[in-house]
């Protein structure tokens, strides 16, 4: 099979797996999903290898090529995301197997495979309308995942997510329609060549950015995030925070760096940067003042998303590297923390922050994961978060915008406060009268594995950094 043919499998295999998992009925779901996961990961790894050795790969789907057809484009950024999804997602789903009930399990697995297919399709796509279709698939599958327990909080959270994410997709679609109307193209490369300043391009850029910020979400559009993340089952929250919210951010990044660059003034980038900085400070302060454990971690996501938007005022390749590195390390670190939160809920059944008291002695792996994940959120070495923030800090000084560096440092300080608030409680003596149920070893190891990925990203950054450079020489 030719190297470009490998691009199809990371999208097709999870889709096929999901359809077959639905087809086999209740008995074979786990087996089918397991085989599909291994196959999809293998395909993603092979494609990564091909891109690392051969450079950017393209496939004109249907043999047509733009402007008539859709094109897949795999550069270093795309395959790094592919790999992140392929490693973090299955680890979360392994945790979900023991965390959810039997029926939820059977419904979780096909839905997760659909999300995996959609996210892989999203990172490979170079077509503005096709990106909309992938966003739609991600959104709907997420809603079904959030409501998978069919209980009241889950249904509420699912509907809330739908009501915010759907207008987000529609705003994006409006922008696509406007761009197609003027430039007769949907391919991102062609759009980038043809775009000219004018009302259509400005309005399109505006509504698309607004829609994607609503989905990600960027402060002050984050109002739906804390209640949704709290109401969803914990493994689903981990998927939402680690991977799904990155999908819309990825589209925004592609659009701004590859399509809209010629028509945007520096003020627009500064504006997004200011919102990102506000998200960092506001999210961290609120994380610090929460009494529920899961809400602390949820508000921390608001803050971490804020850092990623510091890319837009700087808009350099270096800043892109830093932001993407943060996306990857946040995926691993935050997934690990949410999964750890799920373990804690399962062990003591208390959702308050005080519920962690004394648990460090009973669930050492879970709290080791929590600590390692926290280190990456704070941005202390050695962790992926450190590398990412270091690159962003360097870039802020390099571009003469030192004030963003200040935001990075202040955010790190606040993050250390809320992380230590959780860890400190866990080392207090176990309060009397609390029974700690034992957790299956697999569930304790899943968050640890995720946290170790965040750690390794800090120890061996060369491979991802070299990969990210593939396809940037333009």
């Amino acid at each position: 099979m030719s190297p470009t043919a490998w691009m199809a499998w990371p999208v097709i295999l999870p889709l096929l797996g999901a359809v077959l998992a639905l087809l086999v009925g209740r008995k074979g779901v786990r087996v089918v999903a397991g085989v599909a996961s291994v196959a999809t990961f293998t395909a993603s790894a092979v494609l990564t290898w091909e891109v690392a050795t051969r450079g950017v790969l393209r496939q004109a789907i249907g043999g047509w090529g733009p402007p008539l057809g859709i094109e897949w484009r795999a550069d270093g950024l795309a395959v790094l995301m592919l790999l992140t999804i392929g490693v973090v997602g299955p680890l979360i789903s392994v945790h979900a197997l023991d965390h959810l009930g039997d029926r939820e399990d059977r419904e979780f697995l096909p839905l997760w495979l659909f999300v995996w297919c959609a996210l892989n399709a999203l990172v490979l796509s170079a077509d503005a309308f096709n990106l909309y279709v992938t966003l739609e698939l991600v959104t709907l599958a997420s809603v079904a995942l959030i409501a998978v327990r069919r209980d009241r909080p889950g249904l509420d959270a699912g509907l809330r997510y739908l009501l915010f994410a759907l207008p987000g997709s529609l705003l994006y679609l409006l922008g696509v329609a406007l761009l197609y109307g003027l430039y007769s193209a949907l391919d991102l490369g062609l759009l980038g060549q043809r775009i000219t300043p004018g009302p259509v391009a400005w309005v399109a850029a505006g509504v698309m950015t607004l829609g994607l910020c609503l989905k990600t979400p960027l402060f002050p559009l984050h109002v739906w995030l804390p209640p949704t993340y709290t109401g969803a089952p914990t493994p689903v929250t981990a998927l939402l925070s680690a991977l799904i919210s990155k999908g819309s951010y990825y589209v925004l990044l592609r659009l701004w760096l590859e399509v809209f660059t010629p028509i945007l003034d520096w003020q627009v980038g500064q504006f997004l940067g200011v919102l990102g900085a506000a998200a960092v400070l506001w999210g961290s302060l609120l994380a610090l003042s929460q009494s529920q454990l899961k809400r602390v971690v949820a508000y921390s996501s608001v803050a971490q998303i804020g850092y990623m938007f510091l890319l837009f005022p700087m808009a350099t390749l270096g800043a892109r590297t830093g932001a993407v590195y943060l996306v990857v390390s946040h995926a691993a670190a935050k997934a690990s923390m949410f999964v750890a939160v799920g373990n804690i809920h399962q062990a003591v059944g208390i959702t308050e922050l005080g519920g962690v008291q004394g648990l460090a002695y009973r669930m050492p792996f879970t709290f080791l994961a929590m600590a390692l994940g926290g280190i990456s959120l704070i941005g202390m070495p050695p962790s992926g978060g450190f590398i990412a923030k270091w690159i962003l800090l360097e870039e802020s000084i390099w571009t003469g915008q030192w004030w963003w560096g200040l935001v990075l440092l202040l955010g790190g300080l606040l993050a250390s406060a809320y992380v230590f608030r959780i860890l400190r409680g866990s080392f207090l003596p176990l309060p009397p009268g609390v029974t700690v149920r034992s957790i299956p070893l697999g569930n304790e190891l899943a968050p640890l594995a995720l946290a170790l990925i965040a750690l390794v990203l800090g120890l061996v950054p060369w491979f991802p950094l070299e990969l990210l450079a593939v396809g940037t020489a333009r």
């Binding site: 043919a5 087809l23 249907g62 839905l111 709907l140």
Partner: protein, 312 residues
């Protein structure tokens, strides 16, 4: 002259109806008005020379959606939302919407009015696409990959509908005792099958295709649900699963087959393209009909059954 009058009437009525849908006090009235608005917008699409969109708007956007909304009404205790009070509380929403509308208007007015888009490219390659109708060529060949993902969207929607409506899998429907409806269903069935079959076949060279045909079949299914003892199809039955999933499986198969002979995803051989597209469309029609049909929950359980308990 008449055409201009019709257009003016549509342009006036559509915003007016939309406003009424939002402002009306009763939910059932609002649903009826919504259906009326859908029919008019189907007409508007037809006037805009987009018969394919018009068909889908009439069948899915108005017919099935309207039926779904009315069916849902029977599950709710009608308490009309106090629209006016909410509007008073959110003046900023009005300002934001006005700003968005103004911006969009500005952008749309500055678009070229006679731009052919990609029409020329679409027509130039029509001979290689295996079909004669440009819309079908775009949906099943040029951009077949979008359609493949849309089919996944439909499957996910079924799973989502099942999650929010747990009782649809369990309730046994109480068939309508009205003899007329049963008779109506018996008379309608052959016509529905004929129309659906025609729509799939005609999609090759004219407006029609799997989505429209599937919607018509699903409409028949909904009537059956309301008038006969047939319950909502359940995922636990293997027949339902095969009916639902054969289309997607065939489509995936057709999509990946070219990969094994060194071509790209969905790159059909020119000679076989027409046949492959027809078979895929035929299988998809059944799947799409199943999907749309499965959105409908069973009949509303009797009041005694529902009192007190939230769905768990």
């Amino acid at each position: 002259m008449t055409a201009a009058l019709l257009d003016a009437c549509l342009a006036l009525c559509l915003p007016l109806l939309a406003w009424l849908v939002l402002r009306t006090e009763s939910l059932s009235q609002s649903v009826v008005l919504f259906v009326a608005m859908g029919l008019l917008s189907a007409l508007a699409w037809a006037r805009l020379d987009a018969p394919d969109i018009s068909l889908v708007e009439a069948a899915v956007g108005t017919g099935l959606t309207g039926a779904l909304l009315m069916h849902t009404l029977s599950w709710t205790d009608e308490r009309p939302p106090d629209v006016a009070a909410r509007a008073r509380h959110r003046p900023w929403a009005v300002v934001a919407m006005a700003a968005l509308t103004g911006m969009l208007g500005w952008a749309v007015l500055s678009l070229p009015s006679d731009d052919p888009g990609l029409t020329r490219e679409v027509d130039a390659h029509l001979a290689e696409s295996g079909v004669e109708h440009p819309v079908t060529a775009v949906l099943l060949n040029y951009r077949g990959y979008d359609t493949l993902l849309e089919i996944a969207v439909l499957l996910v929607a079924v799973l989502g509908a099942r999650a929010v409506n747990p009782r649809s899998e369990r309730t046994t429907p109480e068939p309508s005792r009205d003899p007329l409806t049963g008779e109506l269903f018996r008379m309608m069935t052959p016509a529905l099958l004929l129309v659906a079959g025609y729509l799939v076949w005609v999609g090759e060279h004219g407006p029609g295709g799997a989505f429209q045909a599937g919607a018509i079949l699903a409409g028949g299914g909904v009537v059956a649900l309301l008038t006969t003892r047939l319950g909502t199809p359940r995922m636990s039955s293997w027949r339902v699963r095969w009916a639902l999933l054969t289309g997607p499986l065939l489509f995936i198969g057709a999509a990946v087959a070219p990969l094994f002979s060194g071509r790209a995803l969905l790159e059909y051989r020119e000679a076989q393209a027409g046949t492959v597209i027809f078979v895929v469309e035929l299988a998809l029609t059944v799947s799409i009909a199943m999907v749309l049909w499965m959105f409908f929950p069973g009949m509303r359980p009797a009041r005694a059954e529902r009192s007190g308990k939230e769905p768990s």
